[in-house]
Amino acid sequence: MTTRIDRRFAKLRAEGRPALVTYFMGGDPDYATSLSIMKALPKAGSDVIELGMPFSDPMADGPAIQAAGLRALKAGQTLAKTLAMAAEFRKGDDETPIVMMGYYNPIYIYGVERFLADARAAGVDGLIVVDLPPEMDGELCIPAVEAGINFIRLATPTTDDRRLPKVLENTSGFVYYVSMTGITGAALADTAKVEEAVKRIKGHTGLPVCVGFGVKTAEQARAIGASADGVVVGTAIVNAVANALGPDGKAAADPAEAVSALVDGLARGVRAARLQPAS
């Protein structure tokens, strides 16, 4: 069975360019603004959308995404509302893949079965759940795959060749390579090292490999996109939202416009990635 994710990567492969994968936090700074950001992403050149599910204790995230999650929660975001946001987006766009990304506890409390049914109904294509390694696949990964939703796994520099097969075993959609050990939003790793890691992972799987953690500029997106099948940008987008807020936390400028401008530049970066040989 193919999902929107499979179809999107197949299309981009035919076009000969990597995907721009954009992460934003659902409900930041509020539901309506966040939905307008989501709708603006494909128009600005995003190929795959990662919809962040806010969590009170995001252990693998840096200060920017922590703050975004807290803003969303403060504005009343819940998992039910994040699902509603996906469903609302789907009404106007039936092609751009949606990957929900976050932590396990809100899903566990919502109820795994109920969550998967609602996610599928909302038009969600994939899940990234940071605190569910392959050792815990029975919790959500297997039920998700059975429900026709891709479970996208993170591979990291600490995932060596011995462990990679285990990490890839139940992965579908794409592989998200975290380019460094660390939290989101830290400095970008050396592109040569990233290229080597992407090659290493591709030796184990036919799935597209997307690279994230630390990509902030169009130039970086171009450099990473030279070897990867996709470039993930998160913190830079979340920061663009934060910078559009006034001191009261309400939108001062239009956050959707700020995000669009950034994503437009990043999209040019990934589109230029294969125009010259990778250095």
């Binding site: 693998a60 050792e135 939290i183």
Partner: protein, 406 residues
């Protein structure tokens, strides 16, 4: 919730997946998984290695001052007029609490694993001090994450850590308490995974930490069990310990779990009462969820967002609890009851007055429960209270509560 079938032994967990029934597990980011598997391997080797045991035992004796005494609290017993109350004197250990037991064990593991840097989280600062102490003793740089609120209310311990050469990093996220410190320690660990050993202070976190910390702390219960047999010729009727994350409690309880005649009670922080959110009684007022690498009872809202909770005691101010406690609760072997801030404060003052022992506010919660139940028990019955730490660190908090200036 259905009660599981009573097992033949309550002391066999966790299973190979690190589960105690449905609790525990390894809910961590992929970056940490290889390291956690390494740690498990190293721990499996170490726990059966006579050289490891011998080194830990020598340090426990000559450095930490074990065995700690089992003391008949005659003054308190007379005052309460019921069962005989004994204190397991973990407050007499080097660094002033039970935390040193676990830190000595884990620093030896860090050494075996060739790690170069120690990180730790701390609530009351007792684990931070113990971590800083063993880091100084073994020559490791040490970073301690501590909630900003806790830094304020536990200044003496912050200063001790600094004297010991540790860097204390205040964490202002959330309410600035233990939960937030643990998040930040995990972020550090994810970033510096190659050379850093995360010295978790409580019997929680991803497998194998809950088992490992329990085993290092079980010296408390093993000693207490042998000591009461020696001093009274029989086992106690009741064992009490305070539960935050639950390391002192699991250490005290575990050796008694299969002594079915011994009633075991864990004390949660009732704070200002369970009706609101101003407490930390995760097993009385929370429900199972996933945080900090394990599934366990958690204080959380209906959306699965973790609540901050409250306790007068920085060491109990944690919205979760070690997974083995959650399992012991559901299996019915251990009862968990709340004690309010005010009751703990009263116990703190009473213990000081009639015993000349200033207990940690955490331990005062356990004493407070003894104050409730001992008077209703027969004079020949025996209660053991785990006096997990000394209260010097808490005098500022207590003075403030009493409206006094120091």
């Amino acid at each position: 919730m259905n009660k599981p079938i009573e097992p033949n032994s309550f002391r066999t967990g966790p299973d190979e997946q690190g589960m105690f029934g449905m609790f525990g597990g390894r809910f961590v980011a992929e970056t940490l998984m290889p390291l956690i598997l390494d740690l498990e391997k190293e721990w499996d080797k170490a726990k059966t290695d006579p050289a490891f045991k011998a080194e830990l035992s020598a340090l426990s004796t000559f450095y930490a001052g074990r065995p700690s005494k089992l003391y008949f609290a005659e003054g308190l017993t007379k005052h309460l007029g019921g069962a005989k109350v004994y204190f397991k004197r973990e407050d007499l250990n080097h660094t002033g609490s039970h935390k040193i037991n676990n830190c000595l064990g884990q620093i030896l593991l860090a050494k075996r694993m060739g790690k170069k840097r120690i990180i730790a989280e701390t609530g009351a600062g007792q684990h931070g001090v113990a971590s800083a102490t063993v880091s100084a003793r073994f020559g490791y740089p040490c970073v301690v994450y501590m909630g900003a609120t806790d830094v304020e209310r536990q200044m003496p311990n912050v200063f001790r850590m600094k004297l010991l050469g540790a860097e204390v990093r205040p964490v202002s996220a959330g309410h600035g308490t233990l939960k937030d410190a643990m998040n930040e320690a995990l972020r550090d660990w994810v970033t510096n995974v190659e050379d850093t050993y995360y010295l978790i202070g409580t019997a929680a976190g991803p497998h194998p930490y809950p088992e490992m910390v329990r085993d290092f702390q079980s010296v408390i219960g093993s000693e207490a069990r042998a000591q009461i047999l020696e001093q009274e010729g029989r086992l106690p009727d009741l064992v009490i310990a305070a539960v935050g994350g639950g390391s002192n409690a699991i250490g005290m309880f575990h050796p008694f779990l299969d002594d079915r005649g011994v009633r075991i009670v864990g004390i949660e922080a009732g704070g200002r009462g369970l009706q609101g959110v101003e407490h930390c009684a995760s097993m009385n007022a929370g429900r199972p969820g996933v945080l900090h690498g394990n599934r366990t009872y958690l204080l959380q809202n209906e959306d699965g967002q973790i609540l901050d909770g409250h306790s007068i005691s920085a060491g109990l101010d944690y919205p979760g609890v070690g997974p083995e406690h959650s399992w012991l609760r559901d299996s019915g072997r251990v009862e968990y009851v709340p004690i309010l801030d005010d009751e703990a404060l009263e116990a703190f003052q009473l213990t000081t007055k009639v015993e000349g022992i200033i207990p940690a506010l955490e331990s005062a919660h356990a004493v407070a429960h003894a104050m409730k139940v001992a008077p209703k028990m027969a004079k020949d019955q025996i209660v053991i209270v785990n006096l997990s730490g000394r209260g010097d660190k808490d005098v500022h908090t207590v003075a403030k509560m009493m409206g006094m200036e120091i």
